[in-house]
Amino acid sequence: MKVFLFLPVVLPILAAGVSTASLGWVWLQRVIGLAVLTVSLVSALAILITVEADGPQSVQAGDWPAPFGITIVADLFAAIMLVVSVAMLLAVLVYAIGQKTDTTSRVFHPVYLLLAAGVSLAFLTGDLFNLFVSFEVMLIASYVLITLGGNREQVRSGMTYIVINLIASALFVTAIAFVYAATGTVNMADLVGKLDTIPGGLATALGLLLLVVFGIKAAIFPLFFWLPDSYPTAPSPITAVFAGLLTKVGVYAIIRSQTLLFPHDGPDPLLLAIAALTMLVGVLGAIAQNDIKRILSFHIVSQIGYMILGLAFFTIAGLAGAILYIVHHIIVKTSLFLVGGMVEETENTGALSRLGGLTRRAPLLAVLFLIPALSLAGVPPFSGFVAKLSIAQAGFAVDSYFVVGVSLLVGLLTLYSMTKIWNGAFWGTPPDDAPEKPAPTPALMAAATGAVVAMSLAVALFAGPLYDLTEQAARELADPGVYVGAVLR
């Protein structure tokens, strides 16, 4: 068991070293990348199965007892996130190989592996400062990937992205300093008890500062402005993995810190307001856009609002809905960006004004787009419906009628802008200068995208058992004692 907890973090780092050393041999890098992520996926599944059966698992790095060493800990929430994320990383890697993104720059593979390591560590670490380090690993890898092509637009938007994130990092260090100043510890389980010993207002202030820090990564209102400007310019597989994963790491950190360190008794008005504004402003932004990837980028923001909404209720049903939503969203958003990338690949543009008639030109693409698009909008019987339904129910159960109403309205607006893409790109006539036949899509890209779409269908199909799982995860989150017990044994 203990091996599995470390593998998704340390193995990619080791492999990145080897991959760096084999810069000249792309085939070797590919083999290493695929093999390592497959092993990571297997270990993530092993973690999930164990945690589901035996409760949260932890292991101390270097065998130093908590809270002194760094604890690697997986509860069900972390395990679920880990499995979904690693699966996406693997699928996107296959896609990237199919698109030959990895030959754009020879450093793609090692950096991608380190991104995977950073993401995994962020989910598994039980230490606040180590969480900072994992964020940094993930972020610097993302800086490199977002500017992979080094063209003008990427450099410009990369600059926005990097500067914003550096500010967030500085704020994170600041927050950690304050936490350590007040409590003398950085182990999260240890913090649970020690935060009780300081004045309540100070603890709240620390919680809010951390909320802002994680909120920047998670792209919540009013901290999200950077996202739609920076994501769309990156190479498609990169955008896909960013869209699916990186913001969700932020959401994960928000949920983890708010439930573990700063629990509430009832719905939190601040988070409710943030959720509503995030949903609404994000979707309105999307409606104003005319480029597939930009529309999708604004939707990331909007969807984050739902996850925060589920958290804001601070009930088991709400948390369960939020986790289910995250799972659904990671898969669906990744697949949408992958499809967006395929559109760009076959038609050489993502601008709606320059697209048309794809249902006839590329029927496979149409199917691959329609399923996740409807799912994103929460149309049954796809995964988004179940996720939204569970959050709406949770909201009504605590009388948060207004916010749930907003969330339903946002669902409609999401549908509106998804069908805007459909109307613009998939229906209608192709532009006059479009080539007779669209460029063929590499089979690997289609296969990877298909696999991700199939996963989203599986989420819908097995929503029942999955909800049981997320509910169990939510129960663990609602009782910090479980987590603390697993770490400070």
């Binding site: 070293g17 760096t20 270097g62």
Partner: protein, 147 residues
């Protein structure tokens, strides 16, 4: 942009370069008990190359690509973690061993020295990387384009 060569500087450097490298090795081994360790040692070794770069330009840098140094360092450090696991311990678990060093003599050494060595190589890697890629490469590519 290549600095003009100076004989005196070159001669002086030959002497200091190795001294600085030795100093960095000392720092590295001292690190566990006195100020020092992989980071400072790597940075100091890196600054030796800074001097060489200032004096000799690109020729002063190691031929080895800096990213390879990093890769090697990463394998060493992460490998140490795996090593202790293979030997039956926890990931990254350390053990104290007794070794004999010719200069310093009898010493307690922790297995983390290998880990620290990984750090050392990576830090050297980034310093050399900065010199090569921010210094030499733009120089040479500008030289290519200028008439």
């Amino acid at each position: 942009m290549r600095p003009a060569r100076s004989v005196i500087l070159e001669q002086g450097l030959r002497a200091t370069f190795h001294t600085i490298l030795l100093f960095s090795v000392w720092l590295f081994f001292a690190g566990h008990n006195a100020p020092g360790g992989g980071f400072p040692a790597g940075l100091v070794a890196g600054s030796a190359f800074v001097l060489r770069y200032v004096t000799f330009g690109t020729d002063g840098l190691p031929r080895l690509a800096p990213e390879l140094l990093c890769g090697f360092g990463l394998v060493l450090a992460a490998g140490t973690g795996f090593g202790s696991w293979f030997l039956g311990g926890q990931f990254l678990e350390s053990d104290v061993i007794e070794i004999h060093l010719p200069v310093i003599g009898e010493a307690h050494m922790s297995t983390v020295a290998f880990f620290d060595a990984g750090v050392f190589f990576i830090v050297v890697g980034i310093v050399v990387g900065i010199l090569r890629y921010l210094g030499s490469e733009p120089d040479s590519s500008e030289a290519e384009t200028s008439p």
